[in-house]
């Protein structure tokens, strides 16, 4: 095996390999997957000089504790993360959005995500991973992708087959802004709900449930009354779709969502707000605001421009 590797001392709660995800497989039942928060994923790769579509480690809540063995290597962590770097004689509080180098025996201890959910660790080099359908994103439900389709486990290793050339230290001044308001477009079954139900959906606050994962975000709040049918004939789903189940609670489809669903679609989260949506942690409030299609398209252009601008600041 390769001589450069990380030993996973503590796997963390939900640590997986993710990249841009896999396309054109919804029809066989395989979702897009990929990094939940795309902006932070891209920034992490840029900070270590990787290709933008390289796989990274995605973690949630509590991340992994990793010990490195090998030649000097660059890493970067993005998100809103509390982590430490343990060197031979010192412990350093880590800063997000800057490249750091590790030497033989150094440890990275990712303690927690601060009032957010996901964080990313990019490794400057090529990780030895299995690709399935042009992506190594791990999908634990279909058991596909890197790491045999499983979450990280204690004691496993991450082998690096090739290290990047060393770079001058890279740094970005960036703070993740938190939002409570998520903008949506009306769904194809919006009229399945009573006027009162629609008003509740658009004006009340909901709480993000603990039963939230990479597949979906469940919300709790006042019931959204359905006046037509609590089932529709099963049909395709896309990420961001908000279905309302028979009990009147909304559930938002996230990156590992089931590809087919039979609950009415009350709304769809706009593409510009997806990265921020996935970072809203269980117990937090969320409120929906309706926009039209052309505003959603413009908001995405702005968001994407902002992301490109951040990436270019790392050059």
């Amino acid at each position: 095996m390769s001589k450069n590797y990380f030993q996973v001392i503590r796997a963390g709660i939900n640590t997986t390999f993710q990249d841009e995800g896999r396309k054109n497989l919804y029809h066989v039942g395989i979702p897009f997957s990929g990094a939940m928060d795309k902006r932070n994923y891209l920034l992490s790769n840029k900070l270590v000089g990787n290709k933008m579509n390289s796989p990274v480690l995605e973690f949630a809540y509590q991340g992994p504790l990793l010990k490195y063995f090998g030649n000097r290597i660059d890493i970067a962590i993005t998100g809103d993360i509390n982590f430490k770097i343990k060197k031979r004689n010192t412990i350093i509080d880590g800063n997000c959005y800057e490249s750091l180098n590790l030497e033989n025996g150094d440890e990275v201890d990712i303690l927690s995500t601060n009032k957010s959910v996901y964080g990313y660790l990019a490794i400057g080099g090529q990780i030895d991973l299995k690709y399935q359908w042009s992506s190594c994103s791990t999908n634990t439900k279909a058991i596909i992708g890197a790491n045999d389709g499983k979450k990280f486990e204690n004691e496993q290793k991450i082998h690096i087959s090739k290290l990047n050339n060393h770079l001058v230290e890279k740094k970005l001044n960036y703070i993740n802004t938190k939002i409570e308001n998520i903008r949506i477009i009306k769904g194809t079954n919006f009229d399945y709900f009573s006027d009162k139900g629609k008003k509740i959906f658009l004006e009340n606050e909901f709480i993000v449930s603990k039963l939230t994962d990479r597949m979906g975000m469940r919300l709790e709040g006042p019931k959204i009354e359905n006046i037509v049918d609590t089932n529709i004939k099963s049909e395709g789903l896309v990420k961001g779709v908000i279905q309302v189940t028979a009990d009147g609670n909304p559930i938002i489809m996230l990156s590992d969502h089931g590809t087919i669903g039979g609950y009415p679609k009350i709304g769809v989260v706009i593409s510009a707000d997806y990265d921020k949506l996935v970072q809203i942690s269980p117990g937090s409030k969320i409120k929906f605001k309706q926009v039209d299609l052309s505003s959603a398209e413009n908001l995405f252009k702005l968001y994407d421009l902002e992301t490109q601008n951040l990436i270019s600041q790392i050059e």
Binding site: N24, Y26, H27, K233, G236, V238, G258, I260, V268, E297
Partner: protein
């Protein structure tokens, strides 16, 4: 043919083929799906054909709803009946350890289990779509006297391989998964194989499926 194209959010087209759920409508959906697939349109991320809908999700950085809608409306859709309709035989063991809901189904349908199985095994099924979980086929149609609703409370874990019924459809759980369909048996056949890159699904849209009863002993010694 497509009756109507709406937007599903800002990055998907929602193509409606009409209210009726039958093989004819679904064949239209499948023809569109295959024709669009052949075009290799770079801005399209995913196609989701279902009974009477086709959802086309796209990369908002490369196109938008209006432009892609126009492109889809002007596509030449094959009218030829070139759908393969592969025939697949699926072995099912109906041992009571597998037939988790047979008693419930006897009561719901007011039919004896012998009759339920006789109906089920004599039927030729058509695959309308695959998905929810990887490779799960949605097969129809069960005759009217075989149609039952989902379980009141869905199971947290339906065992892998379970063969189950609801309304006019039958399906096969390709993975252990939550689910609310009425389970009548279990198949040892591998329906989803992720090592098959070109097509991991044994059963695809438009295929014909026949179920064949096997004994517990045949199930245990099943060899593909």
């Amino acid at each position: 043919m497509i009756k109507n194209i709406l937007n599903l959010g800002d990055a998907a087209l929602y193509c409606d083929f009409g209210k009726e759920i039958n093989r004819e409508t679904n064949t239209h959906v499948i023809r569109y799906f295959k024709s669009i697939q052949k075009e290799n349109i770079i801005s399209i991320n995913n196609l989701s054909p279902s009974y009477n809908k086709l959802i086309i999700s796209f990369d908002l950085k490369k196109t938008n709803f209006k432009d892609l809608k126009r492109l889809i409306e002007n596509l030449d859709i094959t009218n030829e009946d070139d759908l393969e309709n592969k025939k697949i035989e699926v072995p099912v063991c109906c041992d009571e350890n597998f037939a988790l809901d047979i008693v419930r189904l006897e009561n719901k349908l007011n039919l004896k289990r012998e009759k339920i199985y006789e109906n089920f095994f004599s039927k030729e099924f058509f695959c309308y779509m695959t998905g929810f979980i990887a490779g799960m086929p949605f097969l129809g149609d069960l005759s009217k006297n075989m149609r039952a609703k989902r379980l009141e409370t869905p199971r947290v874990r339906v065992p892998k391989g379970s063969v189950a019924l609801t309304e006019q459809f039958a399906n096969i759980y390709t993975f252990e998964s939550p689910g609310g369909w009425n389970v009548i048996g279990n198949s040892p056949l591998r329906i989803f194989d992720s090592s098959k890159k070109e097509n991991p699904n044994l059963i695809n849209q438009g295929d014909i499926v026949l179920f064949k009863e096997i004994s517990k002993n045949q199930y245990e010694n099943y060899n593909e």
